[in-house]
């Protein structure tokens, strides 16, 4: 007997169905890209127990994804310096649209939807001008490009929508790269990373920069609490033996708040936080370091360490309510009933806000 998912997929194919919802995709609450042991790349939806509820093939290795807040659609980005992203129907597996970065731009692998689901915003590199950009795509019109604006810095990476559904926060990593020199970092002596808050039409509302002493600390990844605080994770571009703070919390307009780093913690992370998440109640922050094989959980208010675990190649982390779910390159999904899949999970685990 066909289940609801197959039934709806069939109806959708005939064009007879009402609009599909995330429930029709098996009610996933998390998205993760990965590489199957048979070498095929996939995008998976996971439920709160860590079960894979859908698995759709991808043409190449993904990086992060963005989940549409209402429709069961996910945008999967190619790895940096990727020039395309696919919009997938997570019910049928159909590719609804392919978006290509315009001439002279490439994607950084992250994007976010406006709260109403109408617009998709992508971080991009205007590489000949060494200027960070945000591309705007009309999700109501087949993901047509609707415009772009400056991201407020160099090397924008993660981008998130604040709880008002409109304000964007961008992690401008500060590092200049050019596709013709691969991943070579071109401006380390004078790099400067910042968090920029922008309106959907690109007006800069506020910015917060790293302190001069940590100017080689690159803000890369973000998580937003329900009260609008932004948790950010950094990657240190200086000496391995330096011990920079690797995460912090910030509220638009406020001063930046960085916890006092405990030397051994920063060292064990090898100066590198790969992902960050904040619990729904905003009291705890989780960061990962695949380079150091570390998952850390902190008290968001005090900055004190609550828990640390050594897990090789852990990178993805997302908050499900007040608990954290983690994924590893070894196929593990942690924080729920332990599952190990024959899939090497890629860098990020994305929570689907419209998924429940």
């Amino acid at each position: 007997m066909p289940n609801r998912r197959d039934f709806v997929a069939g109806l959708l194919a005939t064009g007879l169905a009402p609009r599909a919802s995330w429930a029709d995709a098996g009610a996933p609450v998390l998205l993760a890209a990965g590489k199957r042991n048979d070498a095929n790349f996939v995008l998976c939806g996971l439920n709160a127990s860590g079960d894979i509820v859908f698995e759709q093939p991808l043409p190449g290795r993904g990086h992060a994804a963005a989940a549409h807040p209402k429709r069961p659609e996910a945008v999967v980005f190619a790895r940096r310096p990727g020039r395309f992203a696919l919009v997938m129907d997570c019910v049928t597996g159909a590719v609804l649209a392919r978006i290509d970065s315009p001439q002279g731009r490439h994607f950084y692998g992250h994007g976010t939807f406006s709260g109403d689901g109408r617009w998709l915003f992508t971080t991009e590199n205007d590489y000949d001008a060494a200027r960070g950009c945000v591309g705007v795509w009309d999700a109501g019109l087949g993901y047509r490009r609707a415009g772009e604006f400056a991201s407020g810095g160099v090397g924008p990476h993660d981008i998130r929508t604040l709880p008002d559904g409109e304000t964007l926060v961008v992690a401008n990593g500060g590092i200049e790269t050019h596709p013709e020199t691969g991943r070579t970092k071109l401006n380390l002596p004078d790099m400067r990373s910042n968090l920029s808050y922008l309106t959907p039409d690109g007006t800069v509302l506020a910015q917060a920069e790293m302190d001069a002493v940590w100017h080689r600390n690159s803000i890369r990844h973000l998580a937003v609490a329900r009260d609008g605080r932004v948790a950010f994770a950094t990657q240190w571009q200086g000496e391995i033996s330096d011990t920079p703070p690797l995460w912090g919390l910030h509220r638009m307009g406020g001063v930046r708040r960085l916890p006092n780093p405990r030397t051994d913690l920063s060292r064990d992370m090898v100066g590198y936080a790969g992902s960050i998440a904040i619990s729904a109640d905003g009291t705890r922050v989780a960061i990962t370091s695949p380079k150091g094989g570390q998952m850390h959980e902190y008290d968001a208010g005090q900055g004190t360490l609550l828990q640390r675990t050594h897990v090789p190649d852990v990178c993805g982390v997302a908050a499900l309510g007040d608990r954290f779910i983690w994924t590893t390159g070894g196929g593990q999904v942690l924080g729920t009933n332990l599952r190990t899949y024959p899939i090497q999970w890629d860098n990020h685990l994305i929570a689907i806000t419209g998924g429940i």
Binding site: A130, H178, T181, I240
Partner: protein, 330 residues
């Protein structure tokens, strides 16, 4: 051939028993310190040559420049510790320079007859783009500078040469004055364990190969539709291919020591170096011609394969966690 070479490395590395930990003291004494001593000596000789005769077409000066630049390339993969202090390595080697800051800033200094060049102390505060070997190359080999105001370019050449010498001596002094022991003796704030020190050297090895592939080869290759031969490293002085070969030799030596003399790995380097030398295209002019371009592309691919094999297999043997996410984070 490429696939075969890679298969060979994987096979041999895969069959080797758990390797010993590397001889860190040996790497310091036989790889790092001799490299920085040579750089300090050759940079001092360059400074002497520039103070003696600053004419850009003076053969003694150009020879001293070439020798000091060679010495830099031989250590250019060792980007940690003393080389990063005070941005010394960036001041020695500001390249790649995609928006041409070096020639633009040099021209601006020249146009303004900026007196910062008169004293080494003030010169060291100017833009990092006009310091080091790549800025000096413009003054010695680029016609728009060689034929410019002689008095001012002379002062500029002398200031850059003196600055190069100061940075080179500074790096060596820091290595000999304590940093070498940090790496040798361990259990200090910089290197708490053997694994941390090994990781530093392993990272330097991979980063060195990546830079050769991404920048030294990737930059002139550009795209098939738009090759960029004039973006090759140090093409004005005819050194582009030379740098690729020299840096491969340098990373080969480090890989040999880190792997405790793995002969199969060494043979893989030998084969890649032979391919590089066989290009016989000193400034990668051939990237514009599809027939010769593919050989440069093939060399780049072989270096990438070598790096990937090292990352996975040598990383595993050294006890450094290498995984799907940890290898190329973002």
């Amino acid at each position: 051939m490429r696939a075969l070479g890679l298969a060979l490395i994987l096979c041999v590395l895969g069959n080797t028993a758990w390797a010993d930990t590397p001889d860190l003291g040996g790497i310091v004494d036989h790889h790092i310190l001799p490299g920085y001593r040579a750089l300090a000596e050759d940079a001092a000789a360059l400074d002497d040559a520039a103070q003696a005769d600053c004419a850009p077409n003076n053969e003694a000066l150009r020879a001293a420049y070439g020798q000091a630049f060679d010495a830099w390339i031989a250590v250019s993969h060792l980007r940690f510790g003393p080389s990063e202090k005070l941005d010394r390595a960036f001041a020695l080697a500001f390249w790649p320079d995609p928006r041409s800051k070096t020639p633009k800033t040099l021209l601006a200094l020249l146009a303004a007859q900026d007196p910062v060049v008169a004293k080494i102390q003030t010169f060291r505060d100017v833009s990092i783009a006009v310091r080091g070997f790549y800025a000096l190359e413009f003054l010695l080999y680029d016609t728009q500078f060689v034929e410019a105001d002689e008095v001012y370019t002379c002062a500029l050449i002398r200031a850059i040469a003196a600055d190069i010498a100061l940075n080179a001596t500074g790096i060596l002094a820091d290595w000999e004055g304590g940093y070498a022991d940090l790496l040798r003796l361990l259990e200090n704030d910089i290197y708490r364990t053997e694994e941390e020190a090994t990781r530093q050297l392993f990272t330097a090895l991979l980063a060195g190969l990546e830079f050769t592939s991404d920048a030294r080869l990737g930059r002139p290759l550009g795209s098939f539709e738009r090759p960029r031969p004039k973006r090759a490293e140090a093409w004005r002085s005819g050194r582009s291919l030379r740098h690729v070969v020299m840096s491969l030799h340098a990373t080969r030596a480090l890989a040999y020591d880190l792997s405790r003399g793995d002969t199969a790995l060494d043979a893989a380097f030998t084969s890649v170096i032979a391919d590089a030398e066989a290009l016989e295209d000193p400034i990668f002019a051939g990237v514009s011609d599809p027939a010769s371009r593919f050989r440069v592309e093939a060399l780049k691919a072989r270096i990438d394969d070598l790096r990937n094999a090292l990352a996975e297999d040598l990383g595993l043997r050294l006890g450094i966690v290498a995984g799907f996410n940890s290898l190329d984070g973002d």
